[in-house]
Symmetry: C2
Subunit: 117 residues, 2 copies
DNA sequence: CAGTTATATGCCTGTCAAGGAATGCAACCC
DNA sequence: GGGTTGCATTCCTTGACAGGCATATAACTG
């Protein structure tokens, strides 16, 4: 459910840009406005979406609101991605074979499953 | 650029469901229609979006079109995710400290960077 | 060739999200 | 306290997208 919020939050390029900005360091809204070239209200709205998706957190510093990334939702994305890793960890040939055979689903015997990093 | 197509393709829950279906094995359209409970035209349109995002490939088998996952775009997602991994590999305390200090960016000394698997 | 199966495309409508402009609100400064 | 700074919220308009129905297209069947 909040899965949907996460994906649709990240579907917007401006919001991905904001997230990337916040990866470097937490920033107040003004800085984000300047960086992403949107109007201040527009930026605030994007921040609200990110907030409601749980992707960012706010800390109040006088009149400023300093936004920072929350790792959890991105970790959730990583978890979503996990089952797909075998697709490119195993040789692409395997996919080709599946395309050809469509029936042999017992090919758990893959290459070496070496962690990609 | 095609990055945008990838994200917006995956932003839709039905399309994520289709992608998950195709992770198990390639499937003809009919099967996908049945599985995701949409009309056949609706399903076909989702498949078109996935196709144009590069997420799936089609193989023609008589009158059938068998769809299969293409690993590349999902790998791209994984690559996008990579810079964020440090966020949850390192202790969450580190994030807390950044929230408090906002200036000390030289905290490359993290915990153990143990691969999450 | 006529009919059927399997999929794609077009058209239409309702919904929703993005972005701008104006305004509201809270905390600071003199 | 009055003005200012920093951000959020509201209203509005416009454009994009989802989903249904009808229809086109392509390949198989007899």
């Amino acid at each position: 459910m909040s899965d949907a919020a996460l994906w649709s939050a990240l579907a917007d390029p401006h919001r991905r840009a904001i997230v990337a900005l916040l990866l470097e360091r937490p920033r107040p809204v003004g800085e984000i406005v300047e960086a992403c070239g949107l109007s201040q209200p527009g930026t605030s709205k994007h921040l609200k979406v990110l907030r409601e998706a749980g992707l960012v957190r706010v800390r109040q510093d006088a009149q400023r609101r300093v936004y920072a990334l929350d790792p959890a939702p991105i970790a959730a994305l990583d978890a979503w991605l996990a089952p797909y890793r075998r697709l490119w960890n195993s040789s692409l040939d395997a996919l080709g074979r599946r395309l050809d055979e469509t029936s042999d689903d017992s090919d758990d015997r893959r290459e070496s499953l070496t962690p990609k990093d």
